[in-house]
Point group: C2
Chain length 136, copies 2
Amino acid sequence: MNVECIQKLRKGHFKITPKRRAILELFDKKDKCLSPEIIWTHLKKTFKQSGFPSVYRNLEIFVKQGILFRVERQGRKRYYALCHDHSGHHHHHIICVECGKADVFPECSFPDIKSVKGYKILNHSMQINGICKDCQ
Amino acid sequence: MNVECIQKLRKGHFKITPKRRAILELFDKKDKCLSPEIIWTHLKKTFKQSGFPSVYRNLEIFVKQGILFRVERQGRKRYYALCHDHSGHHHHHIICVECGKADVFPECSFPDIKSVKGYKILNHSMQINGICKDCQ
DNA sequence: TTCATAAATAGAAATAATTTCTATTTATAA
DNA sequence: TTATAAATAGAAATTATTTCTATTTATGAA
């Protein structure tokens, strides 16, 4: 688990536990988005004892702290991927639809307006889908 | 059910059934995004007999035909809303986080590039969240 | 209008993802 | 070293969604 992740967790007064380390190290190693089930299966190898609820809760904590983000994919399962931005600036991500690899999309061209059609604009979410170098 | 919806269904050789009419009329009447459960509850009033699977399947057919689109909201439930664009042009939507009302967002500023960071860009999805006139 | 046919449907049951709950354990700050 | 809040396991509950099969129905052709 790298320094940035530790800082992001400490900022929210979250503890650095062995399982949290293991989850983030798995993301580092795999370098792609992962489902709760895949993570849990992996944790079982190292920890024999490990529960689903911890995985789910930790994933959401990681999102809250800006360590992971949620990826939309086909099917019912959730996916999460590492966010490689540590600047804290607004940004989006591009995802490989084949392998699930994710990277920061380097710009956001959303117009600088506060309202449209009577709506007050609060925020926007975006996902760019593509095919990564290795999968092309 | 308006002419555009009928055309969009006919284009895919889908039948115009009473329940499909009822679902789309509900969307017209409510003017906001709806969950499968809400739709099913409403259908039960008029049809006594009506099953969940039909609702789910029809919602996906409507999306496929460009009549509805999926809305991302908090929680586990799916939501769908009417797409008011009949031009067939690329566009996005703005959603009221309070009441679920949805409108076409009039422009897309996504850059005209084919690739980024080694990814071949396939498509992008976007949702703008806001607060509509009535909810402000 | 009638009929043949593919499409649509209900209803029950299965599936499977996610969440809740409680007792126990553990990381961390004092 | 210790007190404490946070994290966890494991089982059970919840609930959204899908599958399956027999029946019904919209629609195009005769």
